[in-house]
Point group: C2
Chain length 352, copies 2
């Protein structure tokens, strides 16, 4: 069976490319002495997490408890960093259960979150490791100065059931130097005030090849690198042949020679533009743009004839791989054109 | 149990508002003598399709075969219009099976699609009804002039297993007069050439209250009207109190007084901007904008203090309801603040 026998739209994952991507970045991290902790939000598949660990990753990163629960459901994954402020009784009791099963760290950037974690883990045998999240310019979560990081670290080390594990940041893109500077300043502030900072966790696929510029980092989190996507091609992080995830679609209409419609819309490709023009890259048709998406229609156009005919199958490299694999209950594993397996996306839709 | 006991992020559906929306638009269609054929892509839930039919809808609209298969899985829905060009052997054999179970119509806008349908249904006892899709300015699928519609209708009536059922369009927004003109011209062209046009199917929630301006229409397809959303508020199609679908989210971080982060990101709200600024409307916090989304983080900001605190739950009206209900395996049915049921989104992710 080749992928041309697969019904459309389907998300194809080329395992040859997946393995190459995992190996290549693991080797890079090894060469600069940086621990690699892949983010499984991209693939949400236990078998792929195991490949990453087998190659040398120190553990994995998850974004939600439900994602962690799902990813450990099919085998031994024993080291998880949950890069999210865990809030509320329901989630805290599940976090406690998760900590019985794996070596667990979480992040926090505020007192309310830390107090909740302490109360939940107060009677636990093992203290929960908490990394303080620092904003280094991405303007998402994170304390905004070293003093705040110090204050939270101090509280963490005083409260029962929890212990300070280090610093973590979700960095802005293209600012490795600033990220390093902010984290170094924060780490120095803590260490000068007698708080050890054993881990400094940095991440982000766009700047993955500049990780060596962040000398303060002890570990690096990357998600998209396993599949790659159009946004990373555009940033120069990878090339087209490194993209493991493609959306297979069928041309269903060619209303005029300059237009075509495919059966992949925003319910597969998503509306994620990632700052680009158009909703994906049509493999072998660089002159064609995906100019508009309805829910189940992708509208393609070109200056001259598209060259596409009704019934033809095309492959699309989406702007953002992580959100596309989350749209489908299963993906199709391939090796080049050969289909090897229909694979359930185990942690798809796990938002709790 | 009230919705404040529900874990976040969750998609809440207020059934009181759902029922009001269904009734109100059915009454409007009744008053102008227009058949209503709701599009179930918005909710993907059989129980809600049944509500729509009980109120007087003539049948339902589906966008994909898998959506139709799922929606009829839980009870009697006997009239489906599948508004999609069905292409390829796998889908055609499923279409044939579907036609054994319900009164089925499909659309087509090209010869290749029509030939495939004819071959699949050649030996069927009942001819498959095909509506020819006409482009009236939306630049998606559809023939682009009356002559093409006539040519396809002629072929449909000649080939075995299929019969011409009328015209269908996915109209551009805010152009009711043009839509009517184009369809009238096409219908006249066919009728002047001795082809009956029993059905003219028009649709679209943004212009749902202008359906009376499209005098040529015999039926109207609407999806979003059952839930409504921010895009329809912005267009003046509905008001805030008519929005049945909201995303319940928890504030997980307030890095500065002017910023807050909630646990609903693009994997729940989607990146669908629908031409607006920001990713949704925060109920009771009109001064707060959802300025940026990561996969699991929603970044909120305001000119002055947001007034939000960590742990607080907020409700967000998303830009586009149809794509949000497709992100989650289940939604929470409520009546006002009371939770009445956790409801599976039966046809979620059904793209084949």
């Amino acid at each position: 069976m080749t992928y041309n026998d697969v019904d459309t739209p389907s998300v194809l994952i080329d395992l040859d490319i997946v393995e190459m991507n995992i190996q290549k970045y693991q080797r890079y991290c090894n060469s600069i002495g940086l621990n690699l902790r892949p983010h499984i939000k991209t693939h949400k598949i236990p078998a792929l997490a195991k490949l990453q660990l087998a190659e040398g990753a120190v553990g994995i990163t998850c974004q939600k408890i439900s994602e962690a629960e799902a990813i450990i459901s099919e085998g031994v994954i024993d080291d998880i960093l949950l890069t999210y402020n865990i809030i509320g009784e329901k989630k805290l009791s599940r976090l406690l259960a998760l900590a019985q099963r794996v070596d667990l760290s979480v992040v926090a950037d505020n007192l309310s979150c830390i107090t909740g974690l302490s109360e939940a883990f107060a009677k636990s045998d093992n203290k929960l490791r908490i990394l303080v999240e620092c904003d280094t310019g991405a303007m998402r979560c994170g304390v905004v100065n070293p003093r705040q990081a110090f204050d939270l670290a101090t509280v963490i080390n005083k409260l029962p059931g929890i212990k300070f594990g280090g610093l973590m940041t979700y960095p802005p893109v293209g600012k490795a130097d600033i990220v390093n500077k902010v984290l170094l300043k924060t780490k120095d502030f803590l260490e000068n005030n007698k708080i050890d900072v054993p881990v400094v966790s940095v991440g982000g696929s766009p700047d993955m090849w500049n990780a060596d510029k962040i000398s303060v980092a002890t570990e690096y989190r990357v998600g998209t690198y396993i599949y790659n996507d159009r946004s990373l091609i555009e940033r120069g992080t990878c090339e087209l042949q490194h993209c493991a995830l493609t959306v297979l679609a069928t041309v269903v209409s060619t209303p005029t020679p300059e237009r075509a419609v495919v059966d992949a819309g925003s319910k597969v490709l998503t509306s994620d533009l990632s700052g680009l023009v158009g909703y994906g890259l049509v493999v072998n048709y660089p002159h064609v743009t995906i100019s508009n998406l309805s829910e189940e229609h992708g509208c393609l156009k070109s200056e001259g004839p598209t060259g596409l005919v009704v019934g033809q199958k095309i492959q699309i490299i989406p702007n953002h791989a992580c959100v596309v694999s989350n749209m489908v209950d299963q993906v199709t594993f391939t090796r080049s054109t050969k289909v090897t397996k229909l694979q359930r996306v185990t942690a798809r839709g796990k938002v709790w």
